[in-house]
Symmetry: C2
Subunit: 720 residues, 2 copies
């Protein structure tokens, strides 16, 4: 074994040497293999997403929580770490890591009763930690310092990876000689290597009782866009706890690594090639009197007739809480939604071969949708008039860091119309009343390795909330021996589209499942399926043979509220407060209004679909249960599907006139096309939460039109 | 009969007296019963939608056509009228009216060959006229003055109503004593009457061989929003040619006329009541260097990488022609769409009772979608940076008038993202590249009596065209004896929602069918249904049991391309040029991408659905045929469904590698809710035409990001 060990050492040395070399270049910076250094901003500045408290940058995050739902502060996270480090479980451990330290939200009814000025409710932290190879769910009471260890024994799966898990995994294969040899044999310098940590799902015994990860690599020679240069067919299975290489699957040596040409998307790369394309003149959203919203106490957003609590979360990304809208008649703030967030994603790729079958990502539970939400780019990710909010997350060692500019809030005006009416030439009345539509957008963008998910919560003054998901970023592509379609044998399935020479964009789906704890004027609500049914007329009843009627069906239990959308069997989906009626007697409510979406067509007993069974329906409704927040389960990594929304819903609990949670899944089928190469123009879809007999009448009837005198006077910038 | 005649005369006198009285008031102006006066702008100014040539207002419309597709000019329409007035058919007629005078577009291949600088192609006019009770389709050659009368004998139905047909119809019932008596018996002053001309569809013999219309009335006492005050159950059937009252159906006298309270939506009415609601500060889209588009020769719009011909049309509203996009690699302008427009609408109401069953509007063919497109309201219908285009239409006497500000064109920036990628904390590379999304919107808004349809053609720099329809305006409501839901017997069907005391919003659908003559890099294209199919793996093939694959099916004939969308049997819908491949061998194409939509569920043999059979599928494809442009047929009024897209498609003609036309229908089910009272917040949906392997790669890769130095410097307006 001696020669192999020394060979391994040689290659490790070689790799480290290359990495040092790289710190001197102006190519995309390669992270050093020292994981601690990576998150230590003192040495790693000016990395904008890595601000430790030691940093001199003024922070927008305070050390005082003001609202029961405010996220843990830097100080509170430090307190938790300090309490736990002296706790028996941790101080006797060989090793431990914090996978999550977040606020354990107080009891919902207590929060609902709380009003500004009341003493803050007891602050608790919910912690997920790995200690000596075991997963723990704990609660720490920040005041009493009491630590409660919860029983999670029945749950398969592992916690969300830490950033340190991911970053350390991608360097671990370099310690393996066989790996390094195949890389160099394929003509790739180890220094050009860029690897990704790929969650491997669960397909049976192989993925059980050991925390594993698959690593696949790319060449980043001559491009920042290494994703377009896959080293195809090479998969390293690692033990994530020990970083031991468990297995190397080495196929596809005959497949060339696609060329770097035309893959770099950075503006600097275009400038070098003098290829800028100036299509449009500068354009900006301007507000001469400033924005119409305020963010009070760091987290309460108040805009127009809305207010809601907004915070960053390492798993969900953005959490909207206690969204309330002002009734234009009574002036009262009325509850609409207690909590809304991205609960889970499911992204199965459609290639059953060795290096691809396991790519069935669940980005929130595996990678942390918030952990991957990078700082937004002012003027481009959000317009000039945006306000930015930071996130505070713990590193694996429990030390807090600040993810700056993680969320933006801005008012949007695209030129759309809120409502209008002109009298037509028929009546001849000279009426033309139009109101512009201005909305408030809350945005984050998560970069889960190659892909970028833009999640918008858009509030409209007419009471509508639009939840929009945009997909951009870079495709996960497959190397191919083909450089032209004419070479492909007739019956060969490429599992995707040939996008460029030797590059296949593999077909995949995206599902984004939202948790929507609707509280329409109170917590006890019912879910009503309003079916739109064809009714035949009786003979002689009417010259019409048919018409449509609305048939209301109140869901009694969970199974009544499992919805698969059908164009030819349509329904509306109302959440109503059965105890509250409008003046003329309609139950007040909101409806979930789907737009373009896609449904998972995978076998229900296919292991990925079992884990992603929360996508079996587009809509589910469950009774409120504080522990049921993550549609794929608490421990999603290598989960077996025993803790999903589909399993909870199977209990078929009563949901009529109860505190209920609606789950909506927004889906996309993605057959890549050449326009997605080397980076994808944003594709988006959305769904709406829309008032339905919630207001007595149009709530924006009385808003004024735009007048020229109120608009700004602008001139070109000095530099223009 | 003597006493009845004098009674009728008395009521007519009474009505006219009231009308004179009304011209002195500041209430919504009531059109005088003199139809000629209505359109005579000399006496009727300052009505902004009625500009005759006599007017002193400078016109934006020129007298010289510049492009083969330019609409007829004022001068050309006058020439047509002059040619026809001396033609035997017209100069020997007792009466005639022009229902349409538009450009007869030259042969498509001739237009495609034409380039700027070439002599203009011969100018022809296509005319639809009614002469002594018969409908004619004629062509006039403006140069040779030759008149061709086409054979339209096989077609049932009548031409689009003239504005004069509509306006004269609503006053005609006042000549009927029985009508006037029932109005006054119901407690409505004749002077408060506002009536609507309602197309009555076709349900059998009753609607044959006579041009009929139904008139229903409202009280406009104390509100501009008379639509909310129906005089329920009263329907007058008129002969539209003679204005004779054929029948009066008089039911529902027990139904009260809903109150005027809270129905007026005008800002002036809110101001009177001191009820303004200022929700947001002023906001504006500003372009310090001005817009990035030009409109050349009045109709050629050139923006960013797009150019297209734009014109107003009395039936379609907006016609986009020869849309071409620049290839960012070659610089070449490439054909995408030869012609796109709103071909027809179908709006069936879902109430089979006497006063409602026939409400199954086909707004383009019956009312003229362009004729009803009123001047847009600057700053509210379109933002400050908009450019406006006028329409030139003929009155019934053939005299041209100008519909000013009928179309707007503006650049939109809502804060959305064109494409983006951040490197995640996993790779640690400091990359954050984001490009804002700026689009060009072409907008019109048609007010077909109560309803307002906003139609947007939105061009994106990534090659996508989004076609969006917004619905706003005022509901068509039904009077009801109920003022609270508790009064409604359990099994009674209201056919809608009780919106306010005694007001029911009747359930209805909207279908908007678009004609899309796609020419992807040339006219000969194929329609490819790319099915997304579940594929089971073979035992042992993969740990996966299933995946999705894309199966391409080229439509051979029309019946292969009749598409009903299914969420669980999904497809992509490509229009490709089979003769042109990308560098790696994919056929170049565009795809039709549906978003939220609705399908008609009515019986196919229900008379309205037979007339609206073009909504039987969401997508159809036909071979190009210059005469097949109107999905409901040329003569839609009282049509019997014998000239619809469904009938044409039944011929099952070959469509592979042919010049093909795609038809897409965007649908909405509308169960009204109280928020729609008294005027509806806009609801919208859209579909996309999206490049799919049309470009070699992302066409906006090389656009620059926004930079602060390019943005404007603004200050509040002086008055602020």
């Amino acid at each position: 074994m001696e020669p192999r060990t020394s060979l391994r050492f040689f290659f490790l040395f070689l790799a480290i040497a290359f990495l040092f070399l790289f710190t001197w270049t102006h190519l995309p910076s390669t992270p050093p293999p020292d994981v601690t250094a990576l998150l230590d901003c003192a040495t790693n500045s000016p990395s904008p997403w890595c601000i430790r408290l030691q940093s001199n940058k003024p922070l927008r995050v305070s050390d005082t929580p003001n609202h029961p739902l405010d996220p843990l502060t830097v100080k509170e996270i430090n307190t938790v770490r300090s309490i736990l480090s002296s706790h028996a479980l941790f101080n006797s451990a060989k090793s431990y890591a914090f996978h999550s330290i977040v606020l354990e939200e107080p009891d919902k009814q207590q929060v609902l009763r709380w009003t500004k000025g009341d003493p803050l409710l007891p602050r608790l932290a919910s912690i997920v930690a790995r200690v000596d190879g075991h997963s723990y769910l704990l609660t720490v009471n920040l005041e009493t310092t009491q630590v409660t260890v919860h029983d999670t024994v029945p749950l398969a799966g592992y916690p969300t990876m830490t950033v340190e898990d991911m970053t350390s995994s991608i360097w671990a294969p370099l310690s393996n000689a066989q790996f390094n040899r195949t890389i160099t044999d394929r003509g790739v310098d180890l220094a050009d290597l860029a690897c990704l940590p790929i969650s491997l799902g669960w397909f049976g015994k192989k993925e059980e009782s050991r925390r594993l990860i698959k690593v696949q690599c790319y060449s980043m020679k001559d491009t920042a866009n290494f994703y377009m240069r896959p080293i195809e067919g090479l998969t390293v299975i690692l033990d994530m706890d020990t970083k031991e290489v468990v297995e190397i699957s080495d196929h596809g040596r005959n497949i060339p690594i696609p060329k770097a040409d035309n893959t770099d998307y950075r503006y600097s790369a275009q400038q070098l090639r003098q290829q800028q394309l100036n299509l449009v003149n500068p354009i900006s959203i301007e507000q001469p009197k400033g924005p119409s919203f305020v963010v009070e106490d760091e987290h309460m957003v108040k805009w127009a007739n809305w207010e809601f609590h907004l915070k960053a979360d390492p798993r969900a990304g953005v959490i909207i809480s206690q969204a309330r809208v002002r009734d234009s008649d009574t002036g009262e703030m009325r509850n609409v939604m207690y909590k809304g967030f991205t609960s889970e994603l499911f992204v199965p790729y459609m290639d059953p071969t060795d290096a691809w079958y396991f790519k069935t990502y669940m980005d929130a539970g595996e990678y942390g949708f918030g952990l991957q939400a990078m700082p937004l780019d002012p003027l481009n990710d959000c317009p000039r008039n945006a306000y930015y909010m930071d996130g505070v997350f713990p590193a694996a060692d429990g030390k807090p860091y600040v993810r700056s500019n993680m969320i933006c809030v801005y008012e949007s005006y695209s030129g759309d119309i809120g409502w209008r009416h002109s009298e037509s030439p028929i009546t001849g009345m000279e009426i033309r009343e139009v109101r512009p539509k201005v909305t408030l957008v809350v945005r984050m963008a998560a970069s889960v390795a190659n892909y970028d998910y833009i999640v918008d919560w858009e509030f409209q003054t007419d009471g509508l909330i639009r939840v929009k998901v945009g997909l951009s970023g870079i495709l996960m592509v497959k190397g191919s021996e083909y450089d032209h379609m004419r070479q492909v044998p007739k019956h060969e399935n490429l599992y995707g589209t040939l996008l460029s020479e030797n590059v296949i964009g593999v077909i995949h789906d995206h599902y984004v499942t939202f948790y929507l704890d609707m509280d329409i004027d109170g917590s006890d609500n019912s879910f009503v399926k309003v079916d739109i049914k064809k009714q035949e007329t009786s003979p002689g009843e009417s010259p019409r043979r048919s018409y449509l009627k609305a048939v209301r069906n109140v869901a009694k239990t969970e199974k009544d509220a499992r919805i698969q959308l059908k164009l030819y069997d349509p329904s509306e989906f109302h959440v109503v407060n059965p105890a509250k009626k409008t003046r003329v007697g309609n139950p007040v409510g909101y409806k979930v209004v789907p737009a373009a979406t896609a449904a998972s067509l995978l076998d229900h007993d296919d292991p990925p679909q079992k884990r992603g069974a929360f996508t079996n329906n587009q809509i589910w409704v469950t009774p409120y249960n504080q522990s049921e927040q993550w549609a794929g389960g608490l421990f999603v990594y290598q989960s077996q599907g025993d803790d999903t929304l589909a399993v909870w819903s199977e209990r078929d609990r009563p949901i009529e006139n109860k505190d209920i949670v609606v789950w909506y899944t927004l889906g996309f089928h993605h057959i890549p096309c050449q326009e997605d190469f080397p980076i994808m123009p944003t594709v988006s879809s959305s769904f709406d939460l829309k008032p339905v007999n919630f207001f007595e009448s149009n709530p924006i009837l009385r808003v004024p039109p735009n007048l020229e005198k109120d608009l700004p006077v602008c001139k070109a910038a000095v530099s223009a």
